[in-house]
Amino acid sequence: MKANLKYNAAWLGVMVLGFVVIDACEFLGIINSFIENMLVTIGINIILATGLNLIIGFSGQFSLGHAGFMAIGAYATGIITQTLVTPIGFYLSVVVGIVIAIIAALIVGIPTLRLRGDYLAIATMGAAEIIRILINNLKITNGAAGLFNIPPLVTWATVYVFMCVTTIVTVNFIHSRSGRAVMSVREDEIAAESMGINTTRWKLAAFVFGASTAAIGGSLHAAYIQTIAPGDFNIMASIAILIIVVLGGVGSITGTFIAAIVLGTLDTVLQNFGTLRMIIYSLALILIMIFKPSGLLGTWEFSFKRLGSRQRKEQSVHE
């Protein structure tokens, strides 16, 4: 953390600048409610996909159940803010959602993370479906009809701040000692184990971390959209998050940002095409995957650190 303080400060600057730019556009009326909706969706998708990228790209575990944890966060917010209609109620519900998601991730993760590859994907998908079916049949969640009229306690600014905070925490986790342990599990589980790394523990850590960010994304989704139903969190929702991760490049947080922005914009532009929209979307997906199999950015990451060291190198060459 301390070693990266300079770069974290640089990123903080970028984030503040982004905030000011969006705020100015909002003030000048360039951003209407339609575009604001798109930006918020992109922001929530970035939170969700960053968490999933940590699980898939950095710990190498293939999870297909991200929407299940998102549902936990969304329903925690939906239920709590109906009685506690204050911002404090919202933040409390975020914390409750995270805690429940962590417990659920531990229950799901401890047995299933022994499985590998596609088997793990199917098991996590099954676990997420079980969560969804439970929500679908419980009284407190209002069954298949879902919850509506959730108080609008979230603005685009809240989503933006949450997006920045989760990204900074995730990236710092990746660049820490723990993050290197997680990545060593991805590279070679046996070698990592022989170096004294408790592979199960770090796999579980990444999984739980991802699940808690998914819960945050779900809380924001519930409070911004104001209507949630169990059908919003089915397998297709998990796959939609997976598509962002793979399209951006597995193991690249920068790629996740770009893919979320590209897909969000594409989705908004294609609204005009009506039913043709999904056909164009699926064709675009197939073509990008065929011509760019490693995703838009592969594992490339934008980094101030590298930028800085390159400049220093250039200076020393000139001297």
Binding site: L115, V250, I286
Partner: protein
Amino acid sequence: MQTIGQQLINGLSLGSIYALLALGYTMVYGIIKLINFAHGDIYMLGAFWGYFVINKLHFNFLFAMLSAMLFCALVGVIIEYFAYRPLRKSPRITALITAIGVSFLLENGMTYFFTANTRNFPQAIQTVTYHIGGIRISNIQLLILGTACLLMLLLELIIKRTKMGKAMRAVSVDPEAAQLVGININHTISFTFALGSAMAGAAGVLIGLYYNSIDPLMGMTPGIKAFVAAVIGGIGSVPGASLGGFLIGLLETAVQAVGLSAYKDAVVYFVLIVILLVLPAGIFGKKTKEKV
């Protein structure tokens, strides 16, 4: 006793549909390690083809099913050629996303061109219900069970007794070694897709006849459940897929009969997780030792 017998019959009919679908998943996964998400949609195409030829061309049931199998085999080969073949060397997650893309394309393409309406499948065969010892069995249930068993037997013979079947087994064990002994990998994989898709096409026509209604999104849930069946049976194993299919079918009807129909999918996934934890490679799966 009677209700148990009745549920057994219902479960076996449903299970044979899942088994036919699971065969396609298991063969494709066995040979190129791809979860072919579009498989459920090929089953949907099979059902629509049956609907079309029976209504418009007045085919009888047998020809409708055979032509649907042929049509689906062709579609499967085309999809493999255009969408999966260019990606054979790339990371597997990429191929998975492409398969999801193909699935979206088939679902939304059909919705776009033929609307999302549910339609009634033509009754090509008059339903006759037999009463045996208090159990109701319709001729359609018998037909489904019989056709499914016949097709599975045929498939087992193709894989075990023909030259192409031998090639398929060889490629699934070691593609490079298979190439060295003169097996054309591309032809073998295309053949595998054709076989699997033909099974899905047959399942589509049979389910149309059984449930009487088809729509462009009908392939989604059965597709995922059939994949679960293939995993339970041990992915890559043909008898395993059949067994898994029947197990899922029986389980679903049993849960429904107990009165927990709202939880039937949850029970299926729960059993999946338990089986994977006890037998990580499924019931008939090969255990692979890890080399250090």
